[in-house]
């Protein structure tokens, strides 16, 4: 799988950066504007899927190795669980929003643990969707090699 033509490669290497930035924006501003961890994570994953479609699987594997993406997946899940457990220790309730007094409302740093949870969910969703698509493409490679 060598990828597509030069035109597609050039354009998608530019557009990929914009999509990635937009995903980060959706994740970080999830507590202020529409969006949030899940949608942002899917956008982050789709930027890598675009690379995979344009450049082929090997390029993406070099860019974002499987070990790192599965570690990011686990890190997102771990961070989300840790936020819940910290809420239990500081506030007495599982998922207690123990940082809510910090920051101004409508500011970027506000809403306590919600932006942190958004970042954790975004990492988790992005990495795991990327892994699902990656494993699907590996499976397809093996079937086509058999024929």
């Amino acid at each position: 799988m060598k990828g597509m033509t030069v035109i597609v490669k050039t354009i998608s290497s530019w557009v990929k950066v914009l999509i990635f930035l937009f995903g980060i924006y959706i994740v970080i501003f999830g507590h202020l504007t529409p969006g949030g961890g899940f949608a942002g994570g899917v956008i982050l994953a789709s930027s890598y899927v675009l690379l995979m479609l344009a450049f082929g699987r090997e390029f993406v594997q070099k860019n974002l190795p499987l070990g790192i993406s599965s570690k990011l997946d686990c890190l997102g899940a771990f961070a989300f669980a840790m936020i819940a457990i910290l809420g239990f220790f500081y506030g007495g309730i599982f998922f207690c929003n123990f940082l809510v007094e910090r920051g101004q409302a409508f500011g970027l740093i506000s809403a306590g643990t919600i932006p942190l949870s958004n970042i954790a969910i975004g990492l988790k969703v992005g990495a795991s969707l990327f892994l699902v698509i990656f494993s699907l493409s590996i499976f397809r490679r093996n079937t086509s090699a058999n024929k």
Binding site: V49, N97, L131, N142, N146
Partner: protein, 183 residues
């Protein structure tokens, strides 16, 4: 209001085509059209959060489905329908239709929020107290990550389980095929 009925008609036509067509690729594209129609509807109903998620998942799902089907030999559906399966599905559809009629009688009109009927519902409290209690300007975020964070935890767990399952099943199949090709 008319735009909703136009979109509903569009979605219904796309769904019928997706069921009836013999070509898998055009069926997938019709499913994509259904998703985009639904996301437009969410946008007109002033739910941009759901619209963003719907459109993004739709695009990604469309790419995955097209890539999964386009390489297979099975691009056309063939074979007759089983008699027993048809009878069972007709009966189930009839039961769901009867239950749906009962449910639709209690729903408010299309596009009108349900808060107007239930003044003391929990959602009213979220709308009134959400900004003060959580500090998040986006109320949807404050619900899914503060009031109902357990839901999000369950969703993350489902995603984690699904990636584990996908990896295990696909790896096993790929290994078997590699072994077969070695022999």
């Amino acid at each position: 209001m008319d735009i909703f009925y136009i979109l509903l008609l569009f979605i219904l036509i796309a769904a019928i085509i997706a069921v009836e067509t013999k070509n898998l690729l055009s069926a997938i594209i019709c499913i994509g059209a259904i998703g985009f129609g639904a996301s437009l509807m969410f946008l007109f109903l002033r739910a941009p959060d759901i619209a963003i998620t719907q459109i993004v998942v739709e695009v990604l799902g469309l790419i995955v489905l097209i890539r999964a089907t386009i390489s297979r030999d099975l691009t056309f559906i063939s074979g007759d329908k089983e008699f027993f399966g048809t009878v069972v599905s007709v009966v189930i559809i009839f039961v769901i239709f009867l239950a749906g009629l009962r449910v639709f009688e209690t729903l408010p009109d299309f596009g009108i929020s349900i808060f107007r009927q239930a003044q003391n519902a929990a959602s009213q409290t979220y709308v009134r107290e959400g900004l003060r209690q959580t500090g998040a300007a986006n109320l949807v975020s404050s619900v899914i990550l503060d009031y109902r964070a357990y839901d999000t935890l369950g969703e993350a767990t489902v995603l984690f389980t699904s990636i584990i399952g996908a990896t295990v099943i696909l790896r096993e199949r790929a290994r078997k095929q590699l072994e077969d090709s070695d022999e």
